[in-house]
Symmetry: C2
Subunit: 160 residues, 2 copies
DNA sequence: GAACAATAGTTGCATTCGCAAATATCGGTC
DNA sequence: GACCGATATTTGCGAATGCAACTATTGTTC
């Protein structure tokens, strides 16, 4: 018998939401939100990104990210500038202020992760990370059948 | 060197967001959103729930859930009624219509999960689920240090 | 049994979000 | 080099979200 509470997406989402909520509260005093942290940490790892790449890296929808980056620029955390040689793309980077801040926050993130996984041997955790990364790739296989199912439904609708 | 993209919350969130987005698109034709599905699947597993319990089970914030349940009631998917013996709590249940619908959707959820995990031996997946469930519990350990850090910060602020 | 605290849920309000449309630039074609 | 499709980002707008304040009911204390 199927149980939601034993399903993979449920267990995953629950941990994700909860970690996000706790981390948000932890960093609120620094004046940044969780999405802002994600953007800064992504830029800290890989600087000079285009908006679309940053969206893919952070899994933040692109229009949401556009506004978020605007706000972060206003606060002096990042820079955003059109490229000279290609005016339709922008390059986003950390400012020194943004860099200093994210380097304060990363140890907190490390601490959180450490508490989350400390009951398990590190081998299990690194396996788990590998699995998560591969599952992410596997999900691409679902795309076509989503299209197909929706197409079928639409066709049935217009006929009936 | 720390990398966001190798951190546990990042890998987790990415899979969670992506699965949610794909599943949303898959079920959109049935006229329900992902949060609605979560509520229905939770009620299918454990019926007759109070709002607060349902919020805990689904990790949906309680005021959001209150409105969501209202909308679902309006659509005839669930019932919501104050208890006779305790007027401050409500009991939420699936209607026959809601039950029929969720029983159509659950096989789709099963299918998605199957695709997600099919590259791994089921032992690994069940281990992974166990770990996710235990990590969720471990996170409670972070609560006190969040309070403490924020208290410390507030004290420093009022002094300086 | 009146007063007050605690529990459960709902609603006001400002913010965030995401889709779709609009804008801006680039690359190719004639 | 004007036109058209493709690519990259931004913006308009309605819906969803979450905190805090509010309402309603129950439990407790004197």
């Amino acid at each position: 018998m199927y149980r939601l509470t034993n399903s993979f997406p449920y267990l995953l989402n629950r941990v994700g939401v909860q970690m996000g909520e706790l981390f948000s509260r932890r960093i609120a005093g620094y004046g940044v939100t969780l999405p802002m942290y994600r953007v800064m940490a992504a830029l800290w790892e890989t600087g000079d990104q285009r908006l679309g790449d940053l969206a893919a890296m952070t899994t933040i929808e692109i229009s949401t990210l556009s506004r978020l980056v605007g706000e972060m620029k206003r606060r002096g955390l990042v820079t955003r500038a059109r490229l000279k040689d290609n005016g339709r793309t922008v390059a986003i980077n950390l400012t020194p202020k943004g860099r200093t801040l994210v380097e304060e926050l990363i140890p907190i993130a490390i601490r959180f992760e450490e508490v989350a996984v400390r009951d398990f041997p590190s081998k299990n955790i690194s396996d788990l990370k590998t699995i998560l990364a591969e599952i992410y790739e596997s999900l691409k296989a679902l795309e076509p059948e989503i299209e197909e199912a929706n197409k079928a439904r639409k066709a049935a609708k217009s006929k009936g």
